[in-house]
Amino acid sequence: MELSGMDVSAQGRPIPENDRTPLMSRDELVRRLSALAGSQNLQVIMRLLADHVGASHFLLARYDLIQEQGLDFIVTSNWPFDLVRRLGSELASAYTRSTELEKCFSVLTPSFALLPDEIVLPEKLSRQYCALTFSVGRTRFSLMLLFVEGVILSQQHLREIGLLAAYGASFVESVESRTERDFELTERELECLFWIAEGKTSDEIAVILGISRNTINNYITSVMRKTATKTRSEAIAYAVRNNLV
């Protein structure tokens, strides 16, 4: 399952796990990435990073979109399409199985898992794949890599490209508007959600915000409609899960 990376300290570089030196030095990698800083072309950036660790295929997914139908949550990928389609639901359910805290502790920690047996892989590709998660703003991303059988990926290099992938996503995110991903909830609605999550009642929130109790209830109804939730509890759970409060 998960390989421990705790031996990777700030100063010492770990002993290389194999003799295969990366295709380019780290300085060269940073130089090339710098050149791409303005371009917002995530596909080129991910290709570059995958090459650096010796992976043959990359897939970048954003988890805030995973609950929706279709494959919109895939930002960029050069995985075989059949594999992506087959894996979509798998990824979504794996994501909901872990808790927020576990996700917080897994940032930039490479984890390895096996693709389901019934999936037909292109020749020579390993059934094992590597996943690295990171967050940019409120969006959590996962970079998933496929590699040729026998290639051993270095933990240190994986962490580095995880960070650089986050830089790459930051180039794009900085331009994208922030409000767009707030599920179109207004500032006032978010404020109400925040206070409800703190255990306040409508009456108390009315006093805090200086507006009427009915207005508060209207805000909450509107939140429940927008988030397609049935009860207040579910609306709050939804907001906490999606880092809205």
């Binding site: 399952m1 998960e2 421990s4 300290s9 700030a10 100063q11 780290r26 300085d27 940073v30 130089r31 710098s34 050149a35 800083a37 303005g38 199985r97 872990s98 808790t99 927020e100 805290l101 576990e102 917080c104 502790f105 940032v107 930039l108 990171f134 967050s135 940019v136 703003g137 409120r138 959590r140 962490r159 580095e160 995880g162 960070l163 986050a166 830089y167 996503a169 930051s170 995110e173 900085s174 994208e176 922030r178 978010l190 925040f194 409800i196 999550a197 703190e198 255990g199 009642t201 009860t231 207040r232 509890s233 579910e234 709050i236 759970a237 906490v240 899960r241 880092n243 809205l244 409060v245």
Partner: protein, 248 residues
Amino acid sequence: MGYSRGGTADGPGSVQHLRLQRGSSRSDIFPKLVAMQKSLKARNFAVFRISGAGLPNKRKLVCELENWGPNAVENSNRLLREFEETLLDHVEMSLLPLVWSGNGSGSTMDAGEFSPLIRRLETAVLPFSGVVFPVRLGALGNGYVAFFADHLTLDAGSVIDQHVESCQIMMDLLALDERRSVPAESLSEREIACLQLAGDGRISEEIAEKLGLSVHTVNAYLGSATIKLDSVNRIQAIAKAIRLGYIT
């Protein structure tokens, strides 16, 4: 069932296990920061975390660790007066490191070929130069690890190494927090099951039917869970249970 504290809690990958891998006190984190400072050839460090997450106008940065010595309060306040807003906004959309050159005579910050990958801030107030690494773990534990000196010269290798390490530092701090905030009495399996279903939008009657209990029993479980989670009502209990990882 999603996740339970009992049984598999010691297995690899569990929260318990992740916690054990990390240092047991803040004094274990300090030497790591000193080593990072040395490798960046900086003079001081400071770790800031975001508190009051959620409500946009309530968020603030809190200095959790530093080695400024007697000037700590003054330096931290000066830094926050100058950059708090910028830093809070930045971590909402980007993970790129931030740097600035101090206004003191000869205070410099040279980012070399790394320049396109960092964001430069302007200051007329701070006498020292600095580099800050944003860390975004998720709903919890976000913030900045910062290093200061009169002259800072960054090279790509050390920026990447120290930024990766900064993430580890913030995870260490989060692990310490979580250890403290574990409820005095741990939640029972039934309480967790009721909370999970309530968070999924089920009303008490539905939960009762699903678990084969009476409505009163369900409400009692939700009530005791609320008390154990130090909450005033079940909604707050659900929010806390998700943040603490009892339910998903």
